[in-house]
């Protein structure tokens, strides 16, 4: 009766959802991280206008991800959230503050500085928390019988602080290359200038993480070093993307830096996936251990197969409508 390996299909759907979320929320979180450092208040208006029409879809991926995890991989849901308890709170608080700031900054005048801080602070905390979640996943969880038994702050280690900082730098780079693509004049010039140091920061942190991980994780070491396999093509592609970012920023290309940064994220993400496959709750549980009942996965899949193409079409349409440059003073808003 079980015609398909639904757990595998679901792993693909959720994995796809995660990278979609990272890429699409990444650049607007990045714009938030860079917000306080912008040259002027007018530039901040332009920055916010550049993401205002498109950031909304990301909330959908996040909530759908939360509910989808509960439906398809309840073990992941019920181990990650307790293990990352404090971090999840910080993530949600950060997202709420920046989401509200988006709305009220446009309507505010004298209180605008409050919403500036709310936007920047919320974005920074949310980005750091997401990076720490990735680090905690690499680290693995202390579990017994499918339940988390570790402490409240087990997730907060030097390693996860590093992955948190890596995510901050990475999102900031996505944000700066997005601004290169979407703005012009002084703001664009500023974005070009900050992209180079951000790229270096990303490479340094990603480099340390890549060297560190095989030392703390036997399985990862085994997978990468036991024999020279095709998966080494992924870090090679990552470096190629990094080179492409550097070259295109230096040559003042407008679209390529952002595209190459997305490439850098995708190849790094795939590198992480092949390192850990098929463990979704390292070090003990695979995606098949964590899956919900077949009939439950099927019941929701039917609805989701219908809705995902619509989500994608709607998202694509939004980006199409708001394509082109945002100019100071004549923003979308």
């Amino acid at each position: 009766m079980e015609l398909f390996d639904l757990a595998l299909i679901w792993a693909f759907i959720i994995g796809f959802g995660i990278i979609m979320y990272v890429l699409m929320d990444g650049f607007d979180l990045g714009v938030g991280i860079l917000f306080p450092f912008a040259p002027s208040e007018e530039d901040r208006d332009t920055m916010m206008n550049s993401v205002a029409p498109v950031w909304d879809g990301n909330e959908t991926w996040l909530v759908l991800g939360g509910a989808g995890l509960l439906a398809a991989f309840p073990m992941v849901y019920s181990i990650f959230l307790p293990a990352l308890y404090i971090g999840v709170f910080l993530l949600l608080a950060g997202l709420i503050f920046r989401g509200v700031a988006f709305e009220f900054r446009f309507k505010a005048r004298t209180s605008r500085y409050l919403w500036n801080w709310s936007f920047a602070g919320g974005s920074t905390i949310a980005a750091f928390a997401q990076g720490a979640v990735v680090g905690a996943y690499i680290q693995g969880f202390n579990t017994v019988n499918g339940a988390y038994v570790g402490g409240a702050l087990d997730w907060l280690t030097p390693f996860t602080v590093l992955t948190g900082l890596g995510m901050l730098a990475g999102y900031a780079l996505l944000g700066s290359t997005w601004l290169i693509m979407k703005t012009e004049g002084r703001l664009q010039e500023w974005a070009y200038r900050v992209s180079a140091p951000l790229l270096i920061a990303v490479l340094v942190v990603f480099g340390i993480i890549s060297v560190w991980t095989p030392f703390v994780d036997d399985m990862v070491r085994e997978r990468w070093f036991s024999n020279l396999s095709v998966i080494w093509i992924l870090p090679a592609l990552t470096l190629l993307c990094a080179f492409q970012i550097w070259r295109s920023v230096r040559n003042r290309f407008e679209g390529m830096p952002f595209v190459a940064t997305m490439g850098l994220f995708i190849t790094t993400y795939l590198g992480l996936v092949v390192s850990k496959w098929p463990y979704v709750v390292p070090p003990n549980y695979t995606l098949w251990d964590a899956a919900s009942a077949y009939e439950s996965q099927l019941f929701l899949l039917l609805g989701l197969l219908f809705v995902i193409p619509i989500v994608l079409a709607y998202t694509a349409w939004t980006y199409w409508v708001f394509r082109g440059k945002v100019r100071a003073g004549e923003g979308y808003h």
Binding site: D45, N49, A52, P53, D56, G57, E59, T60, L62, V63, L64, G66, A67, G68, L70, A71, P74, Y77, S78, L81, P82, Y85, I86, V88, F89, L92, A93, L95, I96, F97, V100, E103, F104, F106, K107, A108, R109, T110, S111, A147, Y148, V149, G150, A152, S292, A293, E295, S296, F299, L300, G303, L304, V307, I310, V311, T318, G329, G331, Y332, H333
Partner: protein, 479 residues
């Protein structure tokens, strides 16, 4: 005293869900009201209906936006604080809650945008259709949420194997025994909330002599609605109570403050329940009335709290008093609806200041009725989370400590206090500016998934203005 993660998690969930619930309960009712206004505008071409609809759509957008923000937290609460429950019930609750998200997404992507921003861009018929679909969508959304909640109250269609619920019949699990009653009760509660808020705000405008023609129409139509649904809610509530008596007799015993199973049980108007001594103090009641209401016989037998062990009883005082507040507000609602009818018959409806003032204050009453109603049903099933199958103590996250739970409880209170003060303050600004706000310019970044972008009322009060003529924020210059 040691911090108990179970109690703190219960308080946290109650706080977060209560805060969340007040927004959707209003938007569900308001969406239907807007659909009716759009229908009237379409049919009669009277600009008054369009004016009312435009204004209330703006209010809808702000409240819907706050509901979305507070809802994000909800989808993670189950995992952070109730992970054992999540793990056990995911086979049913996971897909059901996900379908709610999918419904909400559809609503936003397809129809909310047309309703909020499409008035001048699409044909009037399409705009009306969008309004109807948004109203329908809010009901489909609540359908999933109430199916999930009702299943936890009266579980059906599942098998409990190896610590996990497995669905054997989706239709039995979704349409479980308490679902139809809860859904009807909640739907009427939404209409009552929408009706009393619109009536109260309209009364306030009438007291200030603002947009008299439109606001009289709004008040009048709301009062006709309330005249029928306020009493109807009492009837549905009675049926819901009888259903609860059948499936959760202990909850009814707590609602009635009835400690021992007996006949000729009085309806208590006042009492101070004493859980420790399993009795009430200072009872004031109407003899045999509870028996009559619950069994439809004067000497009918009503089950008492003594049917279950003391540790399986819910906190009686909370349930007992929440129930009385809910019913008291319900009675007040019926009286206000009837008073409206008499004043209307005498032609004094729009000039009776005490009545308009009273309606103004009644606009917040339904929120208290809804919250206390939920307290009755949620606290009343304690100590069970999935009734008769899984207790709250078994459901809480095993690794959770009291300190962690306290940290996030305080955290959420602070975050919500800041964010929703701003939200409610802004809502008040929108109400203050009122129907006269002429700013209906389009803004290219207005998005249905950012419902708040449908309102362009500035955040601060302009010095020297009184809310009728508003200067536009500086950054809204070019379009």
């Amino acid at each position: 005293m040691e911090l108990d993660p179970l109690i703190l998690s219960r308080i946290q969930f109650a706080f977060v869900v209560s805060f969340h619930a007040i927004f959707p309960v209003f938007t569900i009712g308001l969406a239907s009201y807007i659909a009716v206004l759009e229908g009237l505008a379409f049919k009669t071409r009277n600009p008054v209906w369009t004016k009312l609809s435009t204004f209330w759509t703006k209010v809808f957008a702000v409240v819907f936006g706050m509901g979305v923000v507070s809802g994000i937290v909800m989808s993670f609460q189950f995992g952070t604080n109730w992970s054992a429950f999540s793990q056990a019930s995911a086979n049913f609750l996971g897909p059901i809650l996900s379908y709610e998200v999918i419904t909400a997404f559809f609503l936003e992507a397809a129809f909310l945008g047309v309703l909020l921003f499409g008035r001048d861009k699409v044909p009037a018929g399409v705009h009306l259709f969008a309004a109807i679909m948004v109203a329908t969508g809010t009901f489909i959304s609540s359908f999933w949420i109430l199916a999930a909640n009702s299943w936890m109250q009266t579980p059906a269609g599942v098998e409990f194997r190896e610590g996990v619920f497995h669905v054997v019949s989706w239709s039995e699990a979704i349409f479980n025994p308490s679902f139809p009653y809860r859904f009807m009760h909640m739907a009427l509660a939404s209409f009552l909330t929408g009706g009393f808020v619109v009536a109260g705000v309209s009364a306030w405008y009438l007291l200030r002599g603002r947009e008299v023609e439109a606001n009289r129409k709004a008040l009048s139509m709301c009062l006709w609605l309330l005249l029928f649904i306020a009493p109807a809610q009492a009837v549905v509530g009675d049926f819901h109570g009888l259903n609860t008596l059948e499936h959760q007799p202990t909850k009814v015993a707590a609602m009635e403050g009835n400690w021992e199973t007996s006949r000729n049980v009085p309806l208590l108007l006042f009492a101070i329940p004493d859980q420790e001594n399993q009795t009430n103090h200072f009872e004031i009641g109407i003899p045999s009335l509870a028996s009559l209401i619950l069994t439809h016989e004067w000497d009918g037998e009503v089950p008492g709290l003594n049917e279950v062990a003391v540790e399986e009883q819910p906190p009686v005082a909370i349930v007992f008093w929440s129930f009385r507040i809910m019913v008291g507000i319900g009675v007040l609602m019926i009286l206000f609806a009837l008073a409206g009818l008499f004043l209307r018959a005498g032609g004094r409806l729009y000039k009776t200041r005490w009545y308009l003032q009273g309606m103004r204050f009644m606009s917040i009453a339904p929120f208290f009725a809804v919250l206390t109603g939920w307290f009755v049903t949620e606290v009343g099933r304690a100590p069970w989370l999935v009734y008769g199958m899984m207790t709250q103590a078994e459901s809480v996250t095993p690794s959770l400590t009291g300190g962690m739970a306290l940290f996030t409880l305080i955290g959420y209170i602070v975050v919500y206090a800041l964010v929703f003060s701003a939200g409610v303050y802004y809502l008040m600004r929108v109400l203050y500016v009122g129907l006269e706000d002429a700013d209906d310019e389009e803004h290219a970044s207005d998005r249905p998934a950012r419902p708040l972008s449908a309102a362009h009322v500035p955040f601060e009060i302009e010095s020297g203005s009184h809310g009728v003529h508003q200067a536009k924020p500086a950054n809204e210059g070019g379009h």
